[in-house]
Symmetry: C2
Subunit: 521 residues, 2 copies
């Protein structure tokens, strides 16, 4: 719920081979964005397509749905519509006529993406979410699949091949469970089509990363996540492994449709078509010799959106995806900017000065930073237990660019920013051995920073740190004696910092105490 006065609503419509989708995003370009509505209709535009083009029935269904979308936009006051069509329309003999009629009769300008554009926009979506620098982005859709190459976080080149899950199923699968001969036919087609991408083999050198997007791949990831009891609600940064993919393929090959429909994690309306998509993904991984890929939740629609959102940048990708994702979440949830920034400043100051004691690196600092910005978000739900609400908000929505373990650590830092004994539950399965101590130490710094900013008004200018064998001295710099901050920090943050660094805490202020404080101790 963006409360910024210049919030616009942008609709992105994507008319695919199987599904037509519209998302409505509330946004202030360059500032923040938030999904505010979504309509999805199964149009089956490719159904009955012939050399003469899209069938009359499919065209009618598409017109009906696009009019519905346009009607919604008019009535709900959408400010801007970005509408595209992909493989079905571009492959159809009468595609151009279809687009013309849509514009004339509905007043909707459909941009027909060619295969490379489709690859480009999917990659743009992924680059705004995943930290991939050099590697490949694979998007498996209903009609086609796109493979793109990324260099230095830019789209380099891409190809579209007719390896969509629905297209392969319709063409080659006539048995349930799949017969050996159908399976081989699918596999041969996949091999043949991948061979046709001339640049792919030369580009496949070691050390490159692999990213996957689109409903098929996301669903395969969810199947793995369900089997693993994955503890987060979001698939941001989730890693799909080749071995888990093989396991899913085994299940999809051996079970009949009725059983496949109830496979944990699999959408029942994909159960009939997902296998060829999974096989295509597996083959691509084998060809690129990758044993895992990172999921991007963003795809084509998000890429189209980001082109608009980052219109003013030289290249429409956030310079630092992680920082921007944190900021976007903070802005969407109306964070108290000054307080959050001041807590981050004080936490960072503790982190950098305590470096010789903890030895953590910039990645760890980025966890602390993110948690400092996000620690109070849960107040939007309720002041009581707001630390727990913050944790929920972070793991529910997830953060772009962070690995699941990192997202979980940020959520736990928010969880323990004011009280409680830091522990890795319920995310233990994601954690490394050193994370228990890491969480305690980062939580100690965040908690100290939070209580040194208890008045929520920047009373404490700075904190300097020194120590000896047994004692940790924090000297607070302030114009006037910060009585609230010192008292609250002593009461609520001292024990944890003593435990985290194994020293006794001395907390003092450069400003002399007010007489009444001196009298009271």
């Amino acid at each position: 719920m963006l409360s910024h006065p210049s919030t616009q609503r942008i609709a992105v419509i994507d008319l695919g081979s199987n599904t037509a989708r519209m998302v409505v995003i509330s946004t202030v370009p360059g500032y923040a964005y938030n999904l505010s509505d979504e309509i999805r209709e199964v149009v089956r535009l490719r159904e009955g397509m012939s050399p003469r083009g899209l069938s009359a029935e499919a065209t009618e269904r598409a017109f009906f749905t696009l009019r519905l979308f346009k009607d919604y936009c008019d009535s709900a006051g959408v400010d801007e519509i970005i509408a595209t069509a992909t493989s079905a329309v571009r492959d159809a003999y009468n595609g151009a006529l279809f687009v013309e009629q849509v514009q004339e009769e509905i007043g909707l300008l459909l941009q027909v993406l060619d295969g490379e554009q489709e690859a480009y926009y999917g990659t743009l979506g992924a680059l705004n979410e995943v930290l991939v620098s050099n590697g490949f982005v694979v998007d498996i859709g209903g009609g086609s699949a796109q493979i793109s190459e990324v260099e230095d976080r830019r789209y380099q080149r891409g190809s579209s091949v007719p390896l969509g899950a629905l297209a392969l199923t319709e063409k080659f699968v006539g048995s349930d469970p799949i017969k050996k001969s159908d399976y081989s036919a699918v596999q041969q087609e996949i091999d043949r089509r991948l061979d046709s991408i001339d640049w792919l083999k030369e580009a496949a050198v070691e050390g490159k990363e692999l990213v996957g997007l689109g409903g098929t791949i996301r669903n395969l990831a969810r199947m793995q996540a369900m089997r693993e009891d994955y503890p987060l609600n979001t698939l941001h940064g989730y890693v799909l492994t080749r071995s888990a993919l093989a396991e899913s393929i085994d299940l999809l090959v051996t079970q009949p449709l009725a059983d496949r429909k109830s496979l944990p994690g699999l959408n029942s309306d994909r159960a009939d078509i997902i296998l060829p998509g999974a096989m295509a993904m597996a083959t691509i991984m084998d060809q690129l010799q990758k044993d895992s890929l990172t999921i991007s939740i963003n795809g084509l629609r998000e890429g189209l959106f980001f082109e608009r959102f980052w219109d003013h940048l030289s290249y429409p990708v956030a310079g630092d995806v992680r920082r921007f994702s944190v900021l976007n979440m903070a802005r969407v949830y109306n964070y108290e900017k000054k307080h959050a920034n001041h807590v981050r400043f004080l936490a960072d100051r503790l982190f950098e000065q305590l470096l010789p004691l903890h030895g953590y690196d910039l990645d760890d600092l980025s966890l602390l930073d993110a948690a400092a910005i996000l620690h109070d978000l849960g107040s939007i739900i309720d002041y009581y237990d707001h630390h727990k609400h913050s944790q929920m908000l972070i793991t529910n929505r997830g953060l772009a660019g962070y690995q699941p373990r990192e997202t979980a650590l940020i959520a736990l830092l928010a969880r323990y920013h004011r009280k409680g004994k830091p522990g890795l539950e319920p995310y233990d399965s994601l954690m490394e051995e050193s994370d228990e101590l890491r969480l305690m130490r980062l939580a100690a710094m965040l908690r100290m920073a939070e209580f040194l900013e208890r008045g929520r008004n920047g009373n404490v200018d700075d904190v300097t740190v020194s120590w000896d064998e047994t004692t940790l001295r924090l000297t607070v710099v302030a114009d006037e004696y910060p009585a609230v901050e010192l008292w609250e920090a002593e009461k609520n943050a001292s024990k944890l910092i003593e435990k985290a660094f194994g020293k006794e805490l001395v907390l003092e202020s450069t400003a002399a105490p007010a007489p009444w404080v001196a009298a009271s101790f």
Copy 2:
């Protein structure tokens, strides 16, 4: 997080016998309020009190804490401070001097409440939360207990007696677990003090309600709730029974302090003093011949706040506590007022016209109304699964004036407002036999209303209902053919309404279809 431009921050400070508390409330008086901060310090102001008054040490601790509170208010930009002191200060020989010094040295004006004022403000808090019309409000504190009588939802009279949990413990309990003789001494003191309230016996006629507030009573309720696996996070409207209270007293009498500290639901820092408070409550219930009481979460501080919040009313209590509580939650979570009101209007129209088929009453209508206003609140967390987030927000915060069963039904209506098969889990234990059907029918009406307002712009002016043996006809009134609404309602709401009323649905519009719609069907 109130985003209203005239939001003020009001601090309410309450210097009790044991604890000093400050709550900071963000508010637009008469419009909405939301707790935004809280500081709590154990001051033990009564400790060491003698005929010469408050002890020097206790005075110093109180000064330190009040200064801290005042410092916080200054630094955090609180607009208004309401500060009160209760039994310790009013009983102390040097109480007036203490107040004078606080004003001079700290600049904080402490209003010392006499016993009746304390009873009055606690009652005011309770009246703004519980639907009690005629009955009694009991508040058990640390130093004193207040009993008030309510007539026609107004405070009638009240008395304060020195039956606070801490005061009784300090005076009469020297054993652990409590010895028979100590127990009898406490009981005798309770009987004697209650006898001293001259109006109590005459007022105790049948049919009157009983409400309890304050930390002691809330904690006793939580003990019962934990034993019952109570499924809500909030104690709004919770009913504490005399038999559960007896069970808790048994546990408190027989177990030593170390074990009491880990009794489920009991705050460990109350484990040493709660028994005499529980005995006082039990005795009051027996004298009034009540076998249960309703918990009010609101108490003294909230009463003081509401006097300010409802300053412009003839009596500072909301005319309809339930409606206002719903509205306050909606406002705090920045609801889309026009959309919510229109959904409520359409849902109400369905409810009233379908009355002969369902036969529900005004209480049921009030559930539907509340759910219509609150159904989209979860969007503040995320568009995805916002129906589930709405459910969580409602059960997390709770609603004043509604019974737990009703709050759970409102939450479930929000949960099922757009999809899913309505079911009573996880709140089955609160429900009545007829609630499964009730939930399905109310959810069907809400869902139909929601999709008839899918464009979120009031496109549908009205809906009229008629039926015969087999068919339910909904005729939608609109200026222009509401294509989006009809399509979406047909797709998403028709099945549930057919199931709920056992008839086939015919959905049509007074406005003739656009030619393109006719062509498509």
